[in-house]
Subunit: 270 residues, 2 copies
Amino acid sequence: MNERELVAWIQKRAPHFGQRVSVSIGDDCAVYRPGLNEDLVLTTDFCNEGRHFNLGDYTPADAGFKALARALSDLAAMAATPDFALVSLAAPADRVREFMTGVFRCAKKYKVTIAGGDLTKSDRIYCDITCAGLVPRGRAILRSGAQPGDNIYVTGPLGFWKTRPVPRLDLVELLRAKATAAIDLSDGLLMDLERLLFASQVSASLTQAPRAQRGATQRQAWQEGESYELLFTSPHKLPFRALGQVTRGQAGAIYYDRQRLTAAGWDPFR
Amino acid sequence: MNERELVAWIQKRAPHFGQRVSVSIGDDCAVYRPGLNEDLVLTTDFCNEGRHFNLGDYTPADAGFKALARALSDLAAMAATPDFALVSLAAPADRVREFMTGVFRCAKKYKVTIAGGDLTKSDRIYCDITCAGLVPRGRAILRSGAQPGDNIYVTGPLGFWKTRPVPRLDLVELLRAKATAAIDLSDGLLMDLERLLFASQVSASLTQAPRAQRGATQRQAWQEGESYELLFTSPHKLPFRALGQVTRGQAGAIYYDRQRLTAAGWDPFR
């Protein structure tokens, strides 16, 4: 298939929900009509062969599913409901349809309109997805809202990369109602907790370890990324594993049983 | 520099205009507050080493400038005013700052807020930029609006790739007032004209050749892409090179001196 045939193939299958995206694939740009009293929440994430997945462990379709799910996890961490996405794909011609099939599967599952994208050739798969979601005005949950005295929660067991990530969009309403700050656990609990604390200019005093996934070590639960669970803070008592509390103190400092922990997680430039 | 240091470097220098982007680099997502009575126009474009530029011909900063300018050219073709961009960059660690310096130079020149992005490591530069612009509601100029009898205009001389593209944002007001359809000339005049005609379900009868850039052949003017000029249709008489007229007939057919021309341009999957 040449470029035009591939774009036609994609255009025919791209999921579309609602009326807000009035122009999608097939023009220079997509056109979107915003609603009243809503903020748009936007994220962009690479999902690249050899770095974020290998074709030994993933089918191209699973890699495509993950590429969109990664972006949706960022939206969940802001308490946003997904709306539309733009998919930029650089790939060998014979991988395009398989990969996009996985993207579309994820888009259908979470009701995301594929509003456009870019397609070009590459010897390996490089995919960047920009995803937009909605929150009522001023209601996005940021990293910077944690208050001393808040409980620190993790939404599920941690330990190793999930090949088929499940973005925690089921928690969006709860976060809007109860959370003061949130972050998605993409780079490891310690590193992401440190980021949240730093953004909020607070410390943490932990008394509980995170739950480990079956087969994972405690060390993995603290350090491994890509669990696609959320870390959030709230003054409320909630049915999630509470690791401890937000405290006043040096921005970003984490204490566990009074010992200072150092963040170590996924740094792609190490 | 590790990832955190690079992100801090970027965060400190990223241009920011106006109040609409309330959360930018440093959280899971950007937060944007849409205005009233406006449509958002969104595009995403790869600019990849070895495909869209080579570091023999471009400095990393020039490549970064071009990466954003490509997206701005798409906005110009929809008659949209640029507002903000998200920059996803996969690159060797020692190229990041140089490349982003070029992106920021372009952002400052055209008043684009850098609202966020993604940064990861790669052995070559892969950059995907999503750019959002604004038009008054319902006023985006599409490819599909050309009417039989309209004149077909090209906004400048064509012929070879421009290393330092100048997106025709100076023409946004004129397009809104006068154009029925527009497209940016990214893949060559014949191929892009065919796309516009196909989207509008019309033919073209041409009587004039496009102006060739100094040093370019007539053949190059017809076929080479990446001129970053615009092709548009209008019922009005305007001070641009008019190639001919939109006619009823087979969708996408192009006639020049009564001979049928076939589109040939840049197909990345050939």
